[in-house]
């Protein structure tokens, strides 16, 4: 395990993260130094574009392209004096996802270094880490690291005598999954209810306090120091796959060894589940899995050979999402699992648009009726209709479509289980729930 094979996690120390000096001794802040001392912002942007880095928060949008939408005005333009903002989305709350927590708690300076690079590139002098309120240990460690970085002149005015200035603040949130949606996050940072905003305008043009804003996920950002330090060729060749770099994959559920592993992008589902997670727990068989968090479509045992990259997972009918497998075994009821997922989405709906506010609780009602053995076959049709009502284009943001993904795929793959509940008049997995 070294900086070339496991760039994101080789310096992770959960028991006691590296201090700034320890981090520097291990080659830390070299990427930021290279960015601000040897490259213009435009040059760093080209490097990030060329690296092929895509967002690790779920959507997989190319990071360099996202940054390139930030307007750059010439110096005589009044608007060039406007603030720009960089925000790190550390509101990790996708059920089944716990990867950012690892690098936040285990290597806080890596994120600060990454944010220096990103802020320099987009021309932001103010940056915020938007951290979910429940990550108390991460908050404590990040604040210590930020204070150290200020003292060592890696934050503040004239960073390392480069004339670049950056103030970085930690903002701890007060809950709600929807804060992870980037425009909702911006509203939360402005002290408002976290309702997503209509797009356009996109945050890159008019975001936090109406100014150009880039919101990037923790894991996405943490790739930057290594891309700067080791080069784009290195980043692209780590993975044998069309997608570049490594990915922190996870697995949870009733499996032998739940956890997180940094692997070259494109490791197969089977490698993650059977090799790294050690396969299913004693006496259990694989029934299905969500490949990238709660808001992704189910995949089945026949998909074990699918590489976990953006395109391959999409081709198999799901999304890479956050890369965290949620594994369903054959003794857990799929209807109860989908009910649990929909309860989550119904609870976390911000209530702004009708399809989501009313659709998700309706789905919960139908699913709990079926799970209790009181459902009818017509309820399955109603659920399928709901999947259509809550799909992309009919909702204000991606939350309800995210709820549809596991629901619709479960109705397809586990149709027999749904029908059995209805015909038996009870849950056939009784005793497990």
């Amino acid at each position: 395990m070294n900086s070339l094979t496991h760039p994101l996690t080789h310096l992770v120390n959960l028991a006691s993260p590296l201090t700034i000096q320890g981090y520097i001794d291990q080659g830390g802040y070299k990427g930021a130094e290279k960015a601000i001392k040897e490259n213009s912002p435009a040059e760093v942007l080209e490097i990030v574009k060329a690296s092929g880095l895509k967002g690790r928060g779920g959507a997989g949008f190319p990071t360099g392209m996202k940054w390139s939408f930030v307007p750059q005005y010439s110096e005589d333009d009044e608007r060039s004096k406007d603030n720009k903002y960089l925000v790190c989305n550390a509101d990790e709350m996708e059920p089944g996802t716990f990867k950012d927590r690892l690098i936040l708690e285990g290597a806080p300076h890596q994120l600060i270094e990454a944010m220096i690079i990103a802020a320099y590139t987009i021309g932001a002098n103010k940056a915020y880490i938007f951290l979910r309120g429940e990550y108390h240990l991460a908050a404590k460690r990040l604040q210590i690291a930020i204070d150290e970085a200020y003292q060592a002149s890696w934050l503040g005015n004239n960073i390392q005598k480069s004339n670049f200035q950056l103030d970085l603040y930690l903002h701890t949130s007060a809950g709600r999954y929807i804060c992870g949606e980037e425009t909702a996050l911006i509203n939360a940072l402005e002290g408002k209810r976290a309702n997503p905003r209509a797009k356009p305008p996109f945050p890159q043009v008019a975001g936090l306090f109406g100014k150009p804003t880039i919101v990037n996920n923790v894991e996405t950002l943490c790739n930057l120091p290594h891309i700067l330090k080791n080069g784009t060729d290195w980043f692209k060749q780590i993975s044998p796959d069309s997608d570049a770099g490594t990915k922190i994959y996870g697995a949870c559920g009733r499996i032998q060894n739940p956890g997180l592993w940094e692997l070259p992008m494109g490791a197969t589902i089977g490698q993650v589940l059977n090799v790294h997670a050690g396969g299913m727990a004693e006496g259990l068989k694989l029934k299905g899995l969500l490949p990238g968090g709660a808001s992704t479509d189910f995949l089945m045992p026949e998909h074990l050979d699918v590489p976990m990259d953006y395109d391959s997972i999409a081709k198999a009918g799901s999304r890479l999402g956050t890369g965290g497998l949620i594994v369903l075994d054959d003794k857990n009821c799929p209807v109860a699992m989908v009910l649990n997922l929909l309860q989550f989405f119904a609870q976390e709906s911000c209530g702004w648009c009708t399809p989501c506010r009313d659709g998700t609780p309706w789905a919960v009602e139908l699913l709990s009726r079926i799970e209790r053995g009181k459902g009818t076959l017509a309820d399955i049709d109603s659920l399928l209709n709901l999947c259509d009502f809550m799909w992309i284009g009919k909702t204000h943001c991606a939350l309800a479509p995210g709820a549809v993904e596991p629901l619709k795929s479960a109705l397809r793959y586990f149709n027999d289980d749904f029908v059995q509940h209805i015909e038996l008049g009870c849950c056939p997995y009784h005793g497990v729930q």
């Binding site: 603030n83 990790e92 709350m93 996708e94 059920p95 089944g96 996802t97 716990f98 927590r101 979910r132 309120g133 429940e134 990550y135 108390h136 240990l137 404590k140 103030d167 603040y169 903002h171 701890t172 949130s173 007060a174 809950g175 709600r176 999954y177 939360a188 940072l189 402005e190 002290g191 408002k192 209810r193 976290a194 306090f209 996870g250 697995a251 949870c252 559920g253 009733r254 739940p258 956890g259 997180l260 969500l290 709660a294 965290g324 949620i326 594994v327 369903l328 075994d329 857990n332 109860a336 699992m337 649990n340 997922l341 309860q343 989550f344 609870q347 976390e348 911000c350 729930q433």
Partner: protein
């Protein structure tokens, strides 16, 4: 909760917040562009001193941030980590999301309910515990999990959760949580 509109338009809350609360709120406001942007942080600050956000606290914060109480109430009721009702000394946030669901959440829930004789949203008669649910706590590889106060507890079992609650109960008098086996 109803806001008293008459008192709201004639505020007399200038002495309500302590100097510590005000200075912490001012610090949060200073790193944001507008005063009302610090609303969520201000609620968290006052809650950290008083345990929960009463109507009086809400009105005082709104006045201090120069925003309407209705707007702040909309914010306060949106976020689940802001308590708009009194809570016990230790707030249990039991994760009810999918990984915990698959690995035995319901058994842990019924154990807590039975042991403390409270349901979700209720506080024990001795005022020591309030039970709330929480969306995914990010401990999916160590599920089932819960958070009590700022401390996360992992790999919960029926007997372990009872031990944890009893230890917290015993330590609550001395305010010493270091003996429980969770991680912050």
């Amino acid at each position: 909760m109803m806001i008293d509109i008459i008192n709201d338009v004639k505020p007399h809350y200038s002495q309500y917040l302590s100097d510590d609360e005000k200075s912490q709120i001012d610090h949060e406001a200073s790193i944001l562009e507008t005063r009302e942007a610090a609303g969520i942080e201000a609620l968290k600050v006052v809650q950290s001193f008083r345990g929960w956000i009463s109507d009086d606290s809400l009105l005082a914060i709104a006045q201090y941030l120069k925003m309407t109480s209705a707007e702040l109430e909309g914010v306060a009721t949106f976020y689940n980590l802001i308590y708009r009702q009194p809570v016990g000394k230790n707030v249990i946030h039991l994760c009810d999301s999918v990984s915990c669901h698959l690995t035995g959440y319901s058994e842990i829930l019924s154990t807590i309910k039975q042991h403390l004789a409270i349901d979700y949203g209720q506080t024990t008669t001795d005022g020591l515990f309030t039970l709330l649910s929480n969306a995914c706590l990010g401990g999916c590889d160590k599920s089932p999990v819960m958070m009590v106060g700022k401390v996360h507890y992992e790999y919960l079992t029926k007997s372990k959760v009872i031990d944890i609650l009893e230890t917290i109960k015993a330590n609550s008098k001395s305010n010493d949580l270091s003996k429980t086996q969770g991680v912050e």
